[in-house]
């Protein structure tokens, strides 16, 4: 994959192939998470997991604009980021089950998937905790002159963490190639973001001299277009950006968060799912543009479903790490 070109130039408009790859990736995330939920319900998964369902357009739109050697940092709700950056579902499922075949040999689990091969610096279970890491990766990229860009994904809840402002200030001062991507899905766990977030989110980025834009996070093409532009600008040495993606998580904060009416209405959920679904919206556009007909899209979905089931089966069958591993890799 080469540098994503400026989307406004006709020459570099994503080709049908690219659009379909993105569609496939969104389906992959959706069905991956569906299998995760199923593992939880069947009591096959240790601990909990935070699903990315509903937010697929953000990870896919952005990661499609990245080079394979670009960096990302991810969050507790990280499966979508990992997949969009190129992780293999079977090794991800293995990680979620604590198996040796997992990306972290089972030591990390859902909230810590990391993979140098796809530039994934790691999911992070400390809200906001990866802002320094992403900024540091951008620091390396600049100092080593590699032309890499780092994307720091975070939920709007991380706007509560002072570290974010410390690192935005540093990135702005040093013109580091880092994109701060705020995924505003409206909730910090069980609390609406308006109860935790004063003022204006974009203004926070701008106050630190950072180019700040917002985008409809359910529209993968819009996300991709603005991301490609901001990433390219950062790559050219113009410094960091903040991209606010307005989105929604369809399910609970984690797989165990089933009764949600005390903090949000079923109607709200229903509206997002039916009217703002990123996959449905993208599918409608793809068929409208005659890039694919619904049979072709259905074919993609079936393939993905089968692939996810095979990946789960692989993970379930995979062995746990040897017990002696517990004391390995504490130090390099």
């Amino acid at each position: 994959m080469t540098t994503a070109a400026h989307p406004s130039s006709v020459v570099s408009e994503p080709t049908a192939e690219k659009w379909l790859r993105m569609y496939r990736c969104m389906q992959m995330i959706r069905h991956f998470e569906d299998r995760v939920n199923d593992l939880y319900l069947r009591a096959l998964m240790p601990g909990l997991a935070h699903l990315y369902v509903g937010e697929e357009a953000v990870a896919v739109g952005i990661c499609e604009a990245l080079r394979p050697d670009d960096y990302i940092t991810s969050t507790h709700r990280g499966h979508g980021h990992c997949l969009a950056k190129g992780a293999a579902p079977d090794r991800m499922f293995a990680e979620l089950l604590g198996k040796e075949a997992g990306y972290c040999r089972g030591k990390g689990g859902s909230m810590h998937i990391a993979d140098p091969d796809t530039g994934n610096l790691g999911a992070n279970a400390i809200v906001g905790g990866s802002a320094g890491i992403a900024t540091g990766a951008a620091f390396s990229a600049k100092h080593l002159g590699t032309g890499q860009v780092a994307v720091c994904f975070f939920g709007e809840g991380a706007l509560g963490q002072g570290l974010l402002y410390e690192t935005m200030n540093l990135a702005s001062l040093w013109k580091l190639p880092v994109i701060y991507v705020c995924e505003n899905n409206l909730y910090n766990e069980y609390t609406h973001f308006s109860e935790t977030t004063a003022g204006d989110i974009l203004a926070r980025g701008k106050a630190f001299g950072i180019a700040s834009e917002s985008v409809d996070g359910q529209d993968v093409r819009a996300v991709h277009a603005v991301a490609a532009r901001l990433i390219e600008s950062a790559r050219q040495g113009n410094g960091p950006a903040l991209l606010l993606c307005n989105t929604y998580r369809y399910t609970g904060h984690h797989v165990g968060d089933i009764s949600r009416e005390y903090y949000r209405s079923k109607q709200e959920e229903q509206e997002w799912k039916t009217q703002r679904d990123p996959i449905l919206l993208f599918a409608a556009w793809l068929t409208g543009q005659k890039i694919a007909d619904s049979a072709a899209l259905g074919q993609i979905e079936s393939e993905v479903k089968a692939e996810m089931q095979a990946a789960v089966d692989f993970a379930i069958a995979a062995p746990y790490p040897a017990l002696a591993e517990v004391e390995q890799d504490v130090y390099a």
């Binding site: 706007l159 017990l323 517990v326």
Partner: protein
Amino acid sequence: MPETAQRELTFAQAVREALAEEMRRDTRVCILGEDVAEAGTPFKVLSGLVEEFGTNRVIDTPISEAGFTGVGVGAAMTGMRPVIDIMFGDFLTLTMDQLVNQAAKIHYMSGGKWKVPMVLRTTLGATRRSAAQHSQSLHAWVSHVPGLKVVMPSTPYDAKGLLKTAIRDENPVVFFEDKMMYKLKGPVPAEDYTIPLGVADVKRAGKDITLVATSSMVQVALGAADLLEKIGIAAEVVDPRTMWPLDEQTLIASAKKTSRVIVMDEGYGRYGVTGELASVISEGAFYSLEAPVKRMGAMHVPIPFSPPLEDLTVPTEQTVFEAARALCGKA
């Protein structure tokens, strides 16, 4: 434990009841933390409190552990009695400056003039499959800091009595709750009671070996004691209940009586709580000891996610039983 104790409450209920009673007693008591109000925390420990006391006293905060801990410090200095809720003990990392450089030192630095009557409640404990950033037991850090008091209840009864005392204390108190213990049941009297800080509790009497255990390790010690009884070893289980102030005398007296000691704590075994407790005992009971005090803590590794690995990292009834048996020469 008083004879009147009839009711059984879970550990979570005991914590909640302590808070509710203190909030009724003193309108200055308020709670600040993430998802503490309608959600009642992810562990549901605070369920129902916002309904009784309203969102003015049970206050949802942004995800700003340093910020709202700092607000707690200032509020405590100026007439409130805040209870700060830090969801996972792992997030203490974010509050250390406010807790250690501010809360702990203000009384002393001001020559005794300002006081910081604040409680910071947080959690500890592994084996919840939460991986390295949600499983730590970091109470050794705050126990190291003069100016803080540190409470580690191991039963519903202790949790309620100690939390009430902590809220009434004029100092910053860090209160650790074991996540895995929230559903543990135990007797809790309905009438008002408090437990002083700095008084250890002998949870089980015995003459052959002393198991000093904190928080989550008390149940493990009691389980090991049952196993030991079967092979004729009478283990005494001593729970210091508060790391600071520390009831040295009770620990030393038990050690002198039994002459063999294991100290157990779920924090990392290195440079942690077990080193202090073992040293206090060695210093105080050296000439009565048949063997060096044995320490059992969490393995010196970040807590792994993978269940079979995670389970290896903390002392269990079985590993304690075996260590105790060996120490008593019955291996």
